[in-house]
Symmetry: C2
Subunit: 139 residues, 2 copies
DNA sequence: GTGGCTGCAAAGCCTTTGCAGACAT
DNA sequence: ATGTCTGCAAAGGCTTTGCAGCCAC
């Protein structure tokens, strides 16, 4: 029950009521890679607990994103995607395959952190930033 | 007819047939700021040439984006947005107001250019990159 | 001439909504 | 006890599609 517990705590820490549905949803997406769509998430859920409704999944994902448990990912074509990995990281968008790959690099993070610390954008408070990298596979 | 001519050339340069609809659409979006939605674009178009159909606008915007005349902008909530400004620049996303503001800074561009020139991502060819900055207005 | 473009209307699809009943705290 | 969450089904809204006729080249 290690996971179950962790999930429960994470919900509570983020000020969310703990319900069976939320536990399942958070547990499932936490294991998913590749920035799943709502549909992919629902498929996974169906294998654990088939009776969670579409509406609930959508509402819950929204709620999670709002509370910072997951990230909504920007796409320019696709349906919505979600990202259970909330550390600072960047995204490689592969147009050919619709993949979105996490890109982590300490050097890049440092570079940007330094840049944004000393740079001020007048009238703005910067809350977060992320590099979106358009790339294709080498062949 | 200065604009008309420029628009025509831009279409041709990008390998597109020149049609009256495309001329109007490109001319209109080239003047728009604030990363308009398809709807906003259609409203503007309606004032110049009311008989262009929705389908044509969507198809044309897609085509333009594919050929690199404009950018499709990633959003995580919103409808699709388009950006007629295709130089290297970054985006400030203001969640509170749904605004997306262009952010240009030579220093940031240099920093990233340097970084990506020396950094290799195995198996990947980097085609483009852009920083998405989440911010809010200072008050 | 002909391949590509346009317009119309309809379809498609993902996501949201409204509401009544159930549940967590 | 009560404010919140869930599930259902239906609606909503943006975008795409199919197709016939038209146009740019």
């Amino acid at each position: 029950m290690k996971n179950g517990k962790r999930v429960q705590e994470r919900l509570r820490e983020h000020g969310l009521k703990v319900t069976p549905q939320r536990k399942v949803i958070l547990e499932v997406i936490s294991k998913m890679k590749n920035h799943p769509t709502a549909e992919m998430i629902m498929q996974e859920i169906a294998q654990v607990e088939p009776d969670i409704s579409t509406a609930t999944v959508y509402k819950t994902l929204d709620m999670f994103a709002e509370k910072g448990l997951i990230l909504r990912i920007k796409t320019d074509r696709d349906v919505m995607r979600y990202d259970p990995f909330i550390n600072r990281h960047h995204h490689l968008y592969l147009d050919e395959s619709d993949e979105i790959i996490d890109y982590e690099d300490e050097e890049l993070n440092r570079l940007l952190e330094q840049y944004f610390r000393k740079k001020n954008i007048p009238g703005m408070v910067i809350e977060d930033y992320r590099v979106e990298i358009k790339a294709k596979k080498e062949r």
